[in-house]
Symmetry: C2
Subunit: 425 residues, 2 copies
């Protein structure tokens, strides 16, 4: 089995290193020798994290995808421009493709998967979601007897690292973001991480695998963590929650909802204890009920673990993509534009005068929203009251009406902050 790699950076180098160090194991599992024969790189003279003596380096990626001796192309260069053209042409040339590129799959996956099907090749992307956790294998095969009801995951390590540091050390968002970038955790463009776009790419892929429908990245309602303040984290802790950045996909009345946003998770829930750059995905099936999967969401060798598992899957034929299912199924209609039913956390800054809290809770009550917990503090020197409220179960439409009404009062000092609260059971 001859392999050509597009991109020999962190992930590509990790793949070569893991293939070298675990050669005996991998040959035994796959029953074949996996030879990296070519790699396309921008600069053939650059120092690499892996040995390259046995690999022909080239600056022309088309030399790889047009090479008749190459059976599988690993697309590990990233991006959705050249990478898309190369993957397309590799598939048209009858090659299998393995990629770690979540943006490529989330945005162009429907077309590329259909193309792979037409060309009788495999297009696999285990490494694109949750790094080393074999979550797509689990959804497609391990839980194949289930109708999936819910997928909820911490699927962006950078956001989780930032939230963990903010909680554990009382640090500011901007301060931790800089450290994450220095540590190499953050993507080139940090907005992909902190504004939830990277998580939305991954959620679209997870939802497609879980619910057997086409990829619908543009239907994901997305909010990042950049507006989470230290005060929110402190209030959440006092109320018995941890703030996590979750991607959630679920079926409600036969429709699919996908949203990525900060979420208060009860401290006792396992997801609440997933810290730092680690990823974790909760999957609820209608037979197995709640299951959870945890591991490294990034890193050279963790990502390589998933890329090579896909290679072995191709050699052994242990692939069960559901694209036939997608084609035979009508797309599940998406209802994100409608209401989301949830518990909510509200944070308000008000002038500290008699009757404010009574007025707020009365307004909520007028919209059938009752208050489960409330904390009021006078923290600053300005005679302002800082209020955090946990509501009961309600709908975004009702909540937005109530908050708009509250927002009109003179005692409100800044926009009311709204964060979802999930009991996840």
């Amino acid at each position: 089995m001859n392999i050509g790699i597009l991109g020999l950076g962190t992930v590509g180098g990790g793949v070569v290193n893991v293939l070298n160090k675990n050669q005996a194991q991998i040959t035994r599992r796959s029953g074949d020798n996996i030879n990296i024969t070519h790699a396309a790189v921008r600069d053939t003279t650059q120092i690499r994290i892996c040995p390259t003596e046995d690999i022909k380096l080239t600056q022309d990626p088309f030399e790889i995808i047009n090479n008749n001796d190459i059976d599988v192309v690993l697309e590990l260069m990233g991006g959705t421009g050249l990478a898309k053209d190369l993957v397309e042409q590799a598939i048209e040339n009858g090659k299998h493709v393995v990629t770690a590129n979540k943006a490529l799959i989330a945005i162009h996956g429907n077309k590329l998967l259909a193309l792979a099907k037409d060309n009788n090749t495999h297009l696999l992307f285990e490494a694109a979601v949750a790094g080393g956790i074999p979550i797509l294998k689990i959804l497609e095969q391990g839980l194949s007897a289930n109708q999936i009801e819910l997928v909820a995951g911490i699927i962006n390590g950078t956001s989780n690292f930032i939230l963990t540091e903010m909680r554990n050390k009382g640090r500011d968002f901007g301060d931790v973001l800089k450290e994450a970038q220095a540590l190499g955790y953050a993507e080139d463009d940090p907005t992909f991480d902190v504004e939830g776009i990277d998580a939305a790419h991954k959620l679209a892929i997870l939802a497609s695998m879980a619910f057997g429908c086409e990829l619908q990245f543009n239907q994901v309602s997305t909010e990042g963590i950049s507006k989470i303040s230290g005060e929110d984290i402190t209030f959440a802790t006092e109320l018995g929650y941890t703030i996590k950045h979750l991607g959630i996909a679920k079926k409600l009345d036969g429709k699919l909802q996908m949203y990525v946003h900060p979420t208060l998770v009860p401290k006792t829930h396992l997801l609440s204890n997933v810290d730092g750059v680690m990823n974790s995905v909760l999957v609820k099936g209608n037979a197995v009920s709640e299951t959870l999967y945890y591991g490294a969401g990034a890193g050279a060798e963790a990502t390589a673990s998933s890329v090579i598992a896909n290679l072995i899957d191709i050699i052994k034929g242990t692939v069960n993509h559901d694209i036939l299912g997608w084609k035979s199924l009508k797309n599940i209609p998406n209802c994100n534009t409608g209401d989301i039913e949830s518990i909510f956390y509200l944070r308000l800054l008000t002038t500290d005068k008699l009757g404010v809290l009574a007025d707020i809770t009365a307004t909520l009550a007028n919209h059938n929203i009752s208050v489960e917990s409330v904390i009021q503090k006078q923290i600053d020197q300005k005679n302002n009251a800082h209020i955090a409220i946990i509501t009961n179960l309600t709908k975004t439409s009702e909540l937005n009406k109530a908050v708009a009404e509250i927002q009109t009062h003179d005692y409100i000092q800044e926009d009311v902050k709204i964060i979802f609260v999930k009991t996840l059971n």
Copy 2:
């Protein structure tokens, strides 16, 4: 695809119910219709948890395994006597077999897997370990690029339920065991659960899949939870740990160690937060590093989820058992008879007189064992001291010598209790 079931109790009934309720999903995933045509039961008139109109019930299991129209036999009756004969003969008749029977696989698996290989049939048993968690699929395929370094799991739900209740509610072991039996959690013979035999069966299977060696159930060093007292649980909590019943398999200097025993796990570790009847397995691979999997370890439909996933694997050919590997590999020698390196918890009951603690720590120091933490209390009316000690990293051989020496002193009021402590990283 025609299926015959041996045993239509909780698991068998769950399989029929899940096949019925998820028929469209399962047909789509498998690309075939799965028909349960026959079921062998002890009493054909008994009321079942599943509909049986379309299933031919028989009291003669051989009617199923000798039926030429049946492609796959589901062995869901349990036991290692008749079940073994039936599985053997089904395989010899060219049928695939799926079983949830951990004792059968742990004890007779080597022979049965070799027989299946010789007869070109599949023998699959995802449901035998950790119920609905697809842990064997994960080890064999999801993490196939890794050399596994450690598997550590909470794999007996009854023991975990008992330990959780003891910790959360201060209840006694015997009291909770009775409740577990009343709730139907405990196996027919509760010693299988509370003495660790069930966990040892599962660990032997996990280790075989993880390390690519033959099943070696009789090499598992096994200790149950029946000697864990409320005092141990209180001390563990005060020291920052939770007592969990773990099955651990790891490679040390090229040798395999397998042991099942109560273990103090740091409160901050995810395994420490796996409560009640839930199961969880931690897997460390040399590429992916630490991963963890969580879900229901038992129950009709969670177990059925794994049984049916195996059925779909057989239809789609997505099986990658490593038995070829086993045959070509020399067995990894087991070194359980030798030393285990660990941190330890010691609990001592002594007369409360001057110099006792100094004498104990001096004896430990003589064996190069230093003390990380110690708590001493005078709880009872008898003027006795209750002492709990966490040691540093040492070996069982050294610890046993030191404890034997301590045990000779007059101030010792009862046998010193020793429990393993794992940091798991």
